[in-house]
Every structure is written in structure tokens, then in C-alpha cells.
Symmetry: C2
């Protein structure tokens, strides 16, 4: 279980003024990482740390700051843009770096004068993927999503009998994961309606988002060796907002018997900011597994002291249509949910993944699956919100949506807040839909 | 379509005598690539080319040989062990290198004296994976496998209605692909028999092989852009024997609704040798798609001149048990099949994969799926050969098998031969089963 330390002190303030605003995603207590450079330049990529509306450039900070030799060793690969190197470090080293950055950015730090020049406005940056993603796995840990979607595909049998025993997951495509802000081309694909005699190949008409979190693997395991559940959180580096775009008309025709493929792998969008598992420590909470559900098999049981397997993290989905932008109107919030609605904990997902000896590696990305809440308005996809496209959503001014239209911009946001802790956020994960290519 | 050139001349001989043996896998007309170094050393990895029982070390050959500047540029990354760099080259460049290597190794070549010292006996080498595998996809193009396995899982509905329209595939795990010769640890996993009240977590008792070919992607495509079928073969670098080990007791319990996951990702074995698509040109053959099957949708239709979408490549599966080895007995052949039994061509798999804009990259590996033939003894897995474990196979001397036992070594082999062409082979793809770890 995670423990709190001085980096979680809600009273701590930063010498970067914008980090002390009550509504910032990035106070001193957060300190997420991204891979970035000054926009429009050919600067080498480097890792940066968010602080208020600024970013501490670790390439500049590594040379300008004064660091212990243990911390300097951790900063050097980050200065070269290599977040995987930090992910590969033991949890103690990762925490030591967090503490050093906290100290350096804290109000009254003797480092202020040295580091002032290493700050860059976030608005002046462009971002790449935060890390090299070796393998990407997508889980299905949102039970309310599984039930609602299951009802659409299998009305008599919405939740399959394995769901409460097996943390269901499948492999996804790493090459087509892009960073927030990258436009997404509407995919073509085969589809066949129930009344069609033969399938057709055409642009998807049922393009959807999926509200997910991406969990970043820290240290890996050797091929053939498991990760015991009580060590699993040490292997978890942090998380990012993650949108696993889906083509709902391609999926039902292709997915039997081996699962989703082209309905998913045309693109997934991840936020630039990786919020560390340590930053989320004040927001741990019990899971919502009903008392009469089966107890997980022993290899997936958290030990008795670890009741707080969940994270109380608010999740939001926003749409900004071309018409809204043209009229100068703001976006519409489509849904609110919370990470605590996951049926399986992050540790259970990780332990299950390695339970057959599958080797995880630093920088692997584990999608949680769509995290819907129990109420209809908490659904993390349009498929659910519109009951399979039958119930359009009213966006005002005469505009409605069943599925995403060309020109729509879809954004995910997330934040954690509770009395006695400093609010932290995950930034945004956005993508604009481009029309399908002509063929 | 591929054309033949002087590198396919069956009369051509090499100055490496063992390459002229009639039964070698590696005559002058083959020239497959691997990534290797002298066994037991810390030598840097380099790419080598098989010739008879020798290998041409391209690190040595790049400096000792005399090459055109165009060829030298191609050799330099290979000398550093980077096969992905060659995969990324246009097909014309890849063919130019093949021709240069053919000329250099041909009987009477003026390069013989310079290159003699760049030969290493294959038996003195150790191998790594031939390339960096970004993403690994497994298809399901063996229709006889799909029907036989479908009967076991769904007796009333063996071949699903999408099979003859959609080249079914799913994403696999890249990190756990190992090179031939790497032992495989028996996986643990959840399983639940039809009469079990609850699942259990235990070592797999139904460990199986899958006889596949791994297709290596050459040049990739940009995210969002398709690969037209008539260009698909240019994007194909070559192929290797590939064993997609499977745990048949984990699979039925976990695979609904998102497909196989832990039943597969504990390990897959690929042969060290990558045989180029060019080397297979003399063995192209028509596909076996029955005339009354639906015509593929236009994006998957080979143009009228390209009738020879298939490859006539013999495939074999061998088992060598611990008892056989202890008694000095040889291995038993479990099955014979042929690549021509694939329902979809390599080009169709590649084009379908990119048909939604999914970006393929040099070094991506596409498994064909298990290539079984139409006859029971041509089955590419034990699941099929033993009718789901009900019909043990007799290995002689009182030994039988339903699924793989600890100590079994499973090997795949493949070769192409026909009158008027020089026989070529793919080498071997082997793995020894280690007992499950105690937990």
C-alpha cells in the first residue's frame, strides 16, 4: 500500500505562482511527466514536469540545478527525453526523484534562482508520446460498461460468466497510439448489417470514443515469472487519460471468434501527462465490489491491510463540435464517471497480466477499459449514452449526436479532490475527427 | 507479382561447397537473413546470411568485400545487427542486395578470396530475434484449422459467417516472442472445466503448439493510409517458421468476449532465419479457394494477372520427447501441411490489416494462424490431432501424447521444392518445454 509523505502536504506551496491556484491540475503535489520540446523547433525531445501552467524542462534543470548524485543519475536520461529509463527504476528511486523535484519547486527553495530559467510555459510546448510503448494491452475492468454493452450485443447474457473471475483483457496495437492533439482520420472498414446480404467496405458511420485510463508499467518481470499481487503497485509507474476510439459498425462483424481488431487499431489517443502512482496516494478508496460477489482467486487477492485498492478520480468526457466552435460556443459535457467504478484494481490487472509468465516491460501501456458509472449519464462511450445509436444526445442549438461526426473534437479530463488533500488533475486528452480518405 | 531473375537460376552453384548439397535448406538461391554472433562471446550482434552450413557474417563482409556504393549503404546497418533498416528499404533496394550477395557467393566470384574469412559455421553461432518486432498480429488464415477447432468449441457452428469475408486476426504480445532454441516455461492460468463450480489457478495441462508462418513487414504505411492490394507484396519482407504456443485449458475460459490473451502471450517462438519473399518466387501457386465461395470484396481482390497468390511450401511438425532423447531415438513427425492451404494470401492479410488506416512498420510480425491441411494428419496443433485431447497419439515404445509434456522438444520445419527450381528451406523453429514454476 502507498504511504503519504511530505510531498502530499496540502499546505505546501510552490515558488511558481500558477501552481498555487486552487483549480490548477498541476500543483506542487502532482508533478506529472511529459515528453516535449518548444513548439515549432527541431529541439531534441526532453522530459518535462508540469508545475501550474509552466513546465520544468529537465534538460535545462539537470544542468542548471544542484542535485544529489543519486538524483542526477535519474535526471540524465530524462534530459535526453527517455522516460522509460525512469520507469525501469525501483520504486524507491522514483520516489526519491519526486521528493527532490518537490523540494526544488517548493516555496523558499534555494534552487529557485537556478531553475527559473528552466521553466517553459506549457502553451509554448509540443508533445510526443510520453514513452516508448512496447506492448499495449486493453482491459475491460469497467463492469458497468461491460453490462451495458453486453446488453446491446447479447440481451439475454450481458455479463459473461468469467467476468467476475478473470480480469478480461486483450492485446491492442501500439503503433497507432498517438498523443493528445493528433487528429484522427475516420477509418474505413467492413461492416454488415443484420439485413445486408453481403458486407460492404466503407467509412465507419458509428465512430465512438472510450473513456479510459492508461496505466504505465514501471519495472517489468522476466519472461516466465509472475508478479505477486502484494508487489504489483511497485510495478506501476502512473497513469494517463486514454481514449480508445472504436468503430462500432466494424466491431460486431469482425470480432468473433478472436476479439476486436480493425474496429480499434486505427488509433488510440493518450494524454501527454503521466501522473505518477505516488501523486494519487491521497485519493485511494475502497473498491465497489459487491459483498456477495465471488472472492477473487488467491493470486488476485489484495492482502487484508490493503482495502483501498481503488482511486477516487473524477473522469469527464467533453465534445466540441465544428458548429459550436464556429459559433464561438463552448463544448458540451457528455458524461462524468470515476475510476472507483472499476471492478478490478490496477494491481489486479497487472498481476493477472503476468500470472502466466508474460513479461511486462517499462513503458508498456495497460488500458483499463471504458470506465462507465452505474447511471446512464455516467457512460464512457456514445454506444452506451445513445443506447446503441437509438437515442440521440441533444447538444443544444438544434444539434444532436448518436456517433461522432467529422469535425468533432472529443476531450477527456480527470481530477482528484477531497477535503484535506490538494486537488490534482490529469490534464486533457483530445482528438479531432478528420473525414475519411477518398478511395 | 514477383518475377524471376538470375538469382533463381537452379543451375547456379556457390563456392561454399555445402550450399551445393541437394538437401541443404540454404543453397545460393535462398540467402535468408538472421541476427547472430559467435556463441559464448559478447560480440556485437550482426546480421548474417545463410549459405549451406555456413553463414556470411555481414559485419566482416561489409568491410572485407568490394561492393557498389548502393550496396555498401545497405550493408552498413546490417553489419551493426539492424535488419529493420533493410526491411524499411524499397523493394528494389532489397532485390539489389540479394543480387549482390548472390554474385558474391556464386562459383567463380572474384569476391571469394575476400569473403572466405567472413564465413562462420552456423553451428558456432548463437541467434537473437532477427528484428525488433514493434507489433505482432496473429491471423487465422488456416481454414481447415478454423473448421476443426470451431467444431470443438461450437459443434453446430464451426465456421463463423464472417470467415470467408474478413481475414480474421487479433493482436498478440510482442515482448514474449523468443528465438528458436529458447526453452519455454509451462504457464499457469485460470481454467474452469464444465463440471467445476469455480475456476482454479494452476499450471496448464493442455499445452499445445501451433504450426504457423510469421510474415515480416517491410516498408510500412502512414497512420490513416491504406496499402492497396496490388502494392501489398512490396511491403512484405519475408517469412519465418513460427510457433504460437497455446494453453488450451486457459483459452476457453478467458476468451469471451475479447479473444485469446493469457492462453497465448506466455511465449511464441520464431525461427532465426528470415527467408525473403524474393527467394520464394519460384514456388508461387494458385490459392485453394473453392469456386463457389464468395469473391472477396474489391479491396481484397488480387488483380486478374495475379492468380498465383499462394506459396507451395511444405510444413512439418516434429516432437522429440525426453524419453526418446534418453534412449538415443530420433524425433517423431506429428504432421505435414503446406502454406498453400491458407484461405487468404499474405497480400490479403497485409492489405486488410492496413485497410482501416492502421500503420504497419518495418519489423512487424504477422502470424498466419495455424496452417492445417484438409486431412486429419495434416493438422498443425495437438488440439486438432488428438480431437481435443480425446485421441492420444502413439509415439512408439509405449509413449503417447495428447498435449505437450515437460521435456518435450517441439520443432517446425519447412521447405519448398519443385522440378525446375532449386529446393530451399526455412531451417528449424524449436522449443523445449520446462516444468511450471512452483508458486
Amino acid at each position: 500500500m502507498q504511504s503519504l509523505d511530505f510531498t502530499h502536504d496540502p499546505a505546501a506551496q510552490s515558488w511558481v505562482a500558477s501552481a498555487n491556484a486552487v483549480d490548477t491540475d498541476f500543483p506542487l503535489q502532482n508533478l506529472p511527466y511529459a515528453r516535449a520540446r518548444r513548439a515549432g523547433t527541431q529541439q531534441d525531445w526532453r522530459i518535462v514536469v508540469a508545475i501550474g501552467d509552466q513546465a520544468l524542462d529537465l534538460a535545462a534543470a539537470a544542468s542548471a540545478g544542484r542535485w544529489s548524485s543519486a538524483v542526477q543519475v535519474l535526471l540524465d536520461p530524462l534530459a535526453r527525453g527517455d522516460l522509460n529509463a525512469l520507469m525501469a527504476q525501483p520504486v524507491a528511486a522514483r520516489r526519491a526523484l519526486r521528493q527532490a523535484l518537490f523540494d526544488a519547486l517548493r516555496e523558499g527553495s534555494p534552487q529557485q534562482a537556478r531553475l527559473q530559467g528552466a521553466l517553459v510555459a506549457q502553451s509554448a510546448l509540443e508533445f510526443s508520446l510520453p514513452a516508448r510503448i512496447g506492448d499495449y494491452t486493453d482491459f475491460y475492468a469497467g463492469i458497468h460498461h461491460a453490462v451495458t454493452v453486453g446488453k446491446l450485443f447479447r440481451p439475454d447474457n450481458p455479463l459473461l460468466p468469467n467476468y467476475k473471475w478473470v480480469p478480461i483483457g486483450y492485446h491492442g496495437r501500439a503503433s497507432s497510439i498517438v498523443v493528445s492533439g493528433t487528429p484522427l482520420r475516420r477509418p474505413w472498414g467492413q461492416r454488415k448489417g443484420p439485413n445486408d446480404e453481403v458486407p460492404q467496405y466503407a467509412p465507419s458511420q458509428r465512430l465512438d470514443h472510450e473513456l479510459e485510463l492508461g496505466l504505465w508499467v514501471a519495472q517489468g518481470n522476466e519472461l516466465g515469472e509472475p508478479i505477486p499481487i502484494e508487489r504489483a503497485e511497485e510495478h506501476l509507474f502512473g497513469l494517463s487519460l486514454f481514449n480508445d476510439w472504436s468503430a462500432r459498425d466494424i466491431q460486431p462483424w469482425e470480432y468473433q471468434p478472436l476479439g476486436p481488431f480493425l474496429a480499434k487499431n486505427f488509433g488510440s489517443t493518450v494524454a501527454p501527462w503521466v501522473v505518477t502512482w505516488e501523486a494519487l496516494a491521497p485519493f485511494r478508496c475502497p473498491m465497489e465490489r459487491p459483498a456477495d460477489d465471488p472472492r477473487p482467486l488467491p493470486y488476485l487477492q489484495h492482502n487484508a491491510n490493503e482495502v483501498a485498492g481503488g482511486v477516487d478520480l473524477q473522469l469527464e468526457v467533453w465534445i466540441h463540435t465544428a458548429a459550436q466552435r464556429a459559433a464561438g460556443r463552448g463544448p458540451t459535457r457528455l458524461a462524468c464517471s470515476n475510476m472507483r467504478h472499476m471492478y478490478w484494481t490496477a494491481a489486479q490487472l497487472l498481476t493477472h497480466h503476468a500470472s502466466n509468465g508474460c513479461n511486462l516491460q517499462p513503458g508498456d501501456l495497460l488500458g483499463t477499459g471504458t470506465i462507465s458509472g452505474p447511471l446512464p449519464e455516467q457512460a464512457g462511450s456514445l454506444l452506451e449514452l445513445t443506447q446503441g445509436g437509438r437515442q440521440p444526445i441533444d447538444l443544444g442549438e438544434g444539434e444532436t449526436r448518436t456517433f461522432l461526426q467529422d469535425g468533432d473534437e472529443l476531450s477527456l479530463r480527470a481530477y482528484a479532490e477531497r477535503p484535506g488533500a490538494r486537488r490534482i488533475g490529469l490534464g486533457a486528452c483530445s482528438g479531432l475527427i478528420l473525414p475519411a480518405l477518398a478511395r
